[in-house]
């Protein structure tokens, strides 16, 4: 029997193969975890999306170049969202005739509750459900409210992970209007 076919050689070859496979698996696992924890976009190009609005129309982010865009993720069951709802509408009313667009994205909610919420808080800017939570995944949101401020060139300039006051929001919008 040649040395290459001895049981010891076969065992060591199997061990090496198993070891390589385990290493490969750990590598893939690590890569996946790193990708998953890449985090939300806080600067650079804003992920594009098309939103079907509750009123029947659609809105696409990439069509809004040249405008400052405020993207707000919210849900009717979210108390902090309620806290900022009137402030968002107030700022929208203040800037809607300038180069500013507000987009409300209803995340993980039921349509009837979402519609009732919009009515209750008198929200008039474009709003729609995040169907399949695809937009939320693109922006890697972990909860609501989360607001992204996008400049006229389509870059994310701020990601705010808490409810905002009207003054705070104006503080983000004003400098971008002058650019």
């Amino acid at each position: 029997m040649s040395a290459q076919n001895t049981p010891q050689t076969r065992t060591s070859r199997t061990t090496i193969i198993i070891f390589v496979l385990v290493l490969l698996f750990i590598g893939l696992l690590a890569a996946g975890l790193l990708m998953r924890h890449k985090g939300r976009p806080e600067k650079g190009p804003a992920p594009d999306f098309t939103l079907q609005l509750f009123d029947g129309g659609t809105i696409r982010l990439s069509d809004l170049r040249g405008k400052v865009v405020v993207v707000n993720f919210w849900a009717s069951w979210c108390q902090p969202c309620k806290d900022e709802a009137r402030d968002l509408e107030e700022v929208w009313q203040k800037y809607k005739d300038r180069d500013v667009v507000f987009i409300g994205i209803n995340w993980s909610d039921t349509e009837s509750k979402a519609r009732a919420y919009l009515k209750a808080y008198g929200i008039t800017y474009p709003n729609g459900p995040d169907l399949g939570r695809r937009i939320g995944q693109k922006y890697r949101i972990r909860g609501v409210p989360e607001t992204f401020i996008i400049d006229k060139q389509g870059n994310v300039r701020a990601a705010i992970i808490r409810p905002m006051s009207a003054d705070e929001l104006i503080g983000y919008i004003e400098p971008l209007l002058g650019e």
Binding site: P7, T14, L21, F25, L28, L29, A31, G32, M35, R36, A75, W77, S108, D109, T110, S112, K113, P129, L131, G132, R133, R134, Q137
Partner: protein, 175 residues
């Protein structure tokens, strides 16, 4: 027992007949109305097949957060509208993504979650197969060893017998 007078018994029988006729009309109507209202167990049966989109691995029927409560109301509403459980499940998948089915979406890194169990099964099966083959190959060797040992023992026995015969022969010379 007090007997009813003729006009009163006649009125009683008329009322009884009327009640019977009304009940025979009303029963199908009530049944029809009730058929459109799903029972809590019907709602639970659908909820058991879905998962909370916000919690980690929590089934909808056991979930008490506001969104889950709203989702259960939506299930009841859609059942009342005559939707099938499968149609309701597809509605929730469209709303919240495949996370509501309690399984990872089949894309990107998530494919590992689908592939690994099968790879592990194949690996384990292959290992068991190899071990069994190794053992089955090892068995004749053991048999040979056993037969070698038996032959040695027989040889020893023969030698001992020969020795015993020689001792007997020599003893007989002395007698």
């Amino acid at each position: 027992m007090m007997l009813l007078s003729k006009p009163r018994s006649h009125r009683f029988l008329t009322l009884l007949m009327l009640a019977l006729i009304l009940s025979s009309i009303a029963t199908p109507l009530v049944t029809t109305v009730l058929a459109g209202t799903p029972t809590p167990s019907e709602v639970e049966a659908v909820a058991r097949t879905l998962y909370c989109p916000l919690c980690v691995g929590e089934r909808l029927d056991a979930c008490e957060i506001p969104l889950c409560m709203d989702m259960k109301k939506e299930i009841a509403k859609q059942l009342a509208e005559g939707k099938t459980p499968e149609e309701i499940r597809q509605y929730f998948v469209a709303q919240y993504g495949p996370i509501v089915l309690g399984e990872p979406p089949k894309k990107g890194f998530n494919w590992l979650a689908w592939i690994i169990p099968f790879v592990a099964l194949l690996g384990a099966g292959g290992y068991v197969f190899l071990r069994i083959r190794q053992w089955s190959r090892g068995a004749p060797q053991a048999e040979t060893v056993t037969s070698e040992r038996t032959a040695r023992e027989e040889e020893t026995d023969e030698l001992l017998d020969e020795y015993a015969r020689q001792v007997e022969r020599e003893l007989s010379q002395w007698e």
